[in-house]
């Protein structure tokens, strides 16, 4: 973080502007979630699968005396399952009132980016992408797609019906493609 000079207005500007993001990886893409919305990074965990659950549910994992339901980011993106153990992040739950975990391939680190580098979702994005992604930050290394944990909450995912498992076992094709 650049330390602002004596100018007060500048300092305010700087504080509002900088966002800490936790970077995470799924497939070949990089994602970012606001660190304030992450409760804890659990790291690699063995997940207990839940039979008959929607495709996007990775399984359940014990967490602080509770049974935490986890959402598999890869399944949401429609890419093949990760070969290794997934990394579990626990989302902050003050608004959704439903605590859940997100399973990704790996967690990078905390990066601070300027809010000004955020671009909105492209209008050409298909429906599922529009639901999942919340814009992207232009980083030097490429784009970091922002995720909104509130929209990844399992009950909301199942409400949308976008990610429902079809009878053939695969994911439903998105309405746009059909």
């Amino acid at each position: 973080v650049r330390i602002a000079g004596g100018d007060r207005v500048d300092e305010m500007q700087e504080e509002n502007d900088a966002v800490s993001l936790c970077s995470l990886y799924a497939g070949s893409e990089t994602f970012g979630i606001d660190t304030r919305k992450i409760r804890e990074v659990l790291g690699e965990r063995d997940l207990q699968r839940v039979p008959m659950s929607p495709e996007f549910i990775a399984g359940v994992v014990p967490y602080r005396g509770e049974v935490l339901t986890t959402v598999n980011l890869r399944a949401l993106l429609g890419i093949a399952a990760y070969s290794g153990k997934g990394c579990v992040l626990v989302m902050e739950d003050d608004q959704a009132a439903e605590r859940f975990g997100l399973v990704v391939d790996a967690v990078g680190g905390v990066v601070t980016v300027s809010q000004r580098t955020l671009e909105e979702n492209p209008c050409t994005l298909e429906a599922r992408g529009k639901w999942l992604f919340d814009g992207a930050y232009k980083m030097e290394s490429g784009l970091m797609v922002r995720l909104d944990p509130q929209k990844l909450c399992p009950s909301r995912l199942s409400e949308t019906g976008l990610f429902r498992k079809s009878t053939n076992g695969g994911m439903d094709a998105s309405p746009d493609r059909r």
């Binding site: 207990q48 039979p51 008959m52 659950s53 359940v60 014990p62 049974v67 199942s158």
Partner: protein, 730 residues
């Protein structure tokens, strides 16, 4: 609402609860000064505190009540039914204001005139009192309403009383949910234990796994956890009496509406039950009590005709029995009319005419638990509104309990609710299927059957695509857990050692769940699942096992429904509730088997440790006596039915023969050697009555018993003899 007011409300409600109990008792014992004192204190306390808190409306009403009670206490008034009704209404009035304060923070004035009416009524009841004594505000109230309203007030609200009482108690129930009174000692103990827990954790963090004191620390952690668990459980335990408390009033009101004369008796109010369970059985129990008053007890005239006292009696009894709490609702009414039950069941197409004709009384009784069943001739305000016994049973089963009913014509009906001590911790059996662990609640588990791979084809029979297992000549539908859940087929390793069949019973369904392996029985702590996973409908929760892995808890009833298992009335009735009901009165279970030449013989079940199927080749002979090498010990076999020669003959014909051996040992006698009994066939496990000993059978170490209404020989005391026999051989 500030803390002071909250405390006041909680305290007043408790006082009113006490008052309610005392009032109904006062009616039966009008001269009990202690009861009167208690009631007076409750009202007086409210009056005193309200003045201080500034709730004028409440104070006025309480004051009027106190005044009336004062006259009663001084002996200027006699206890009459009207007086009790008036005092009960006073209590309702006070409660209503308390609820209003709790909800809004103020006592409100909208329904203010009601109080005036009530106060006037109380004044009227206190009629002997000279007008001069009427205090200002009381006079004021009477004047407010107008004198004309006074006589009408007396008649008007008899009808509305039950309704408002019901509403009140519901609201009270809701209020009580949030707060709980805990003994300070218990709380201190909890705090101490938590302190201990923190200390142990600190030590554990500082020492590493290989440290010498690590096992000791782990042990301490274990004991602290166990203590803490117990203490928390204790804190959650509430006396059943809290639940019983509202029944005298309810029964009184109900009895009046139905034109019955009913008294309530309690025993075992101090029996503790987990708070959540207490809540869960509140409705079923209320329903049962209502049923007892409305359907059970006859009108006074009918009772006198039947030679019974005009006043009926509903007895509520709570007691502990083998790890669960039993709550009984017994009435001394007419009993359940069997022919009407059957007629109704046929009318509703629940059973066919032929089925009904062949039903025993006990089987027919179970029909009342079927959905859509009610024998009430007419829908009354209290019963017959479609909330049937099926709901009672469903609610109790939801918390892992069971319901039994017993009825004797002309003598009454007893309904027994059996619930586990606590909800949070459930004894279960952990099983594996498709590479995953699942927990099955022990309460639903009837028995376990091992199906070795080589016998699989022989034991499993098919009708179309449905697989059935023949268990003691009964066909049991088989449900494959892995197939049902869409899990991967079993690994080659499980295929070689066969499968296990867990015989489960829930919602009247009995089926065999096929699993790959049985793990240990464990006391599991139930954790709720998130809504998305609850939607699947097959799992009632999840739990963390001893090895740190998660296991899903299978909802046995829902699994049956998903697999399409339909309730089988006749059979499940006979085995399930029926047996449990007789268990209490007789208390002995027998294993029935065929011994010599088709003769039914039984052994007390507690003497049989295991039933083994042994290939005949494994039975060896020493000195002409059969022996079996069994788990590293040499087991003498007894073959009194001459089964072995028959089997031997079959083997000569080239068949592969298995001998059924009961491994018997008397657990009560330490160090005694076990004995194997060769039998022809195991028939059943059932309860029975031991008949009077007769000289002949006693000499042979046998007794006669009635098991399933058939005469059966019972063997006892054979262990010691067998041992001596064996020593001779050695």
């Amino acid at each position: 609402v500030d803390d002071l007011t909250k405390e006041f409300i909680a305290e007043s409600q408790e006082g009113l609860d006490r008052m309610e109990r005392c009032l109904t008792e006062l009616e039966t014992r009008p001269d009990d000064a202690g009861l009167l004192g208690e009631i007076f204190r409750a009202v007086h306390t409210i009056k005193g505190t309200t003045g201080f808190l500034g709730f004028d409306r409440l104070e006025k009403l309480a004051h009027a009540g106190e005044h009336l009670l004062g006259s009663l206490r001084d002996g200027r008034l006699a206890v009459t039914s009207e007086l009790i009704s008036g005092l009960l209404r006073l209590m309702d009035g006070l409660r209503a204001i308390l609820v209003l304060i709790e909800e809004t923070g103020g006592e409100g004035t909208r329904s203010g005139d009601e109080d005036g009416e009530l106060i006037a009524e109380l004044a009227l009841l206190n009629g002997e009192m000279p007008p001069a004594v009427i205090e200002d505000e009381l006079l004021h109230a009477v004047v407010d309403v107008g004198v004309a309203a006074v006589p009408s007030a007396k008649v008007s609200d008899t009808a509305s009383a039950p309704a408002s009482a019901a509403a009140n108690s519901e609201r009270n129930g809701a209020g009580n949910d949030k707060t709980l009174r805990i003994d300070v000692d218990v709380l201190n103990r909890m705090m101490n234990l938590v302190g201990e827990l923190v200390l142990t954790r600190n030590q554990m963090l500082q020492s590493d796994r290989s440290a010498a004191n690590f096992p000791e620390l782990a042990r301490r952690l274990d004991s602290v956890t166990a203590d803490l668990r117990e203490t928390v459980m204790q804190a959650r335990m509430q006396p059943v009496g809290n639940l019983f408390g509202k029944f005298p009033r309810m029964v009184r009101d109900l009895a009046r509406t139905c034109g019955r004369d009913v008294r309530v008796e309690f025993t075992g109010q101090e029996t503790g039950l987990d708070k959540s369970l207490l809540e869960a059985i509140k409705d079923p129990l209320t329903h049962a009590v209502r049923n007892a008053v409305d359907h059970g007890i006859e009108s006074p005239a009918d009772r006198v005709l039947a030679g019974k006292p005009a006043e009926g009696c509903v007895r509520l009894r709570a007691f502990h029995q083998s790890g669960s709490v039993v709550i009984e609702v017994a009435d001394d009414g007419a009993g359940i009319p069997m022919e009407r039950v059957l007629a109704k069941a046929i009318e509703r197409n629940l059973v066919t005419q032929e089925q009904a004709a062949g039903m025993s009384e006990r089987e027919a009784l179970q029909l009342i638990f079927l959905p859509g069943f009610s024998t009430a001739a007419a829908v009354t305000t209290v019963s017959g509104r479609g909330v049937g016994m099926d709901v009672v049973r469903a609610n109790v089963e939801k918390v892992g309990g069971s319901v039994e009913v017993e009825s004797r014509r002309g003598e009454g009906t007893t309904l027994r609710l059996r619930v586990p001590l606590t909800l949070a911790i459930v004894p279960s059996l952990v099983v594996r299927s498709g590479g995953q662990s699942f927990a099955l609640p022990q309460s639903a588990l009837v028995e376990l059957v091992d199906i070795p791979q080589r016998e699989f084809a022989k034991m499993v029979q098919r009708i179309g695509s449905a697989e059935l297992y023949r268990l003691r000549e009964r066909l049991l539908p088989m449900v494959w857990l892995d197939r049902l859940l869409g899990l991967e087929a079993d690994s080659p390793e499980t295929a070689s050692h066969g499968h296990y069949l867990a015989v489960l019973e829930a919602d009247g369904c009995r089926y065999g769940l096929v699993v790959d392996d049985l793990m240990s029985p464990e006391e599991i702590v139930v954790k709720p699942l998130s809504p998305v996973l609850r939607e699947i409908g097959l799992f009632s929760g999840a739990t963390v096992l001893g090895n740190g892995m998660l296991a899903l808890i299978l909802d046995v009833g829902a699994t049956a429904a998903r697999a399409g298992v339909k309730p089988i009335e006749e059979e499940s009735v006979e085995i399930g509730a029926g047996e449990a009901a007789t268990e209490e009165s007789i208390g002995e279970s027998f294993l029935i088997f065929e011994d010599r030449a088709r003769e039914r013989t039984a052994l007390p079940l507690n003497m049989v440790e295991r039933i083994e199927s042994v290939p005949l080749e494994r039975i060896e002979y020493a000195g002409g006596r059969p022996l079996l090498q069994y788990r590293g010990e040499l087991l003498p076999l007894r073959d009194e039915g001459n089964v072995l020669p028959d089997l031997e003959a079959a083997r000569q014909r080239g068949e592969e023969v298995l001998a059924t051996v009961l491994i018997c040992g008397d657990a009560s006698r330490v160090g005694e050697q076990r004995v194997g009994m060769v039998v022809r066939q195991v028939l059943d496990v059932s309860t029975g009555t031991v008949l009077e000993k007769d000289a002949v059978s006693e000499a042979a170490g046998m007794e006669l018993a009635l098991v399933k209404e058939k005469l059966t020989l019972v063997r006892r005391e054979f262990g010691s003899k067998a041992t001596t026999l064996w020593q001779e051989v050695a």
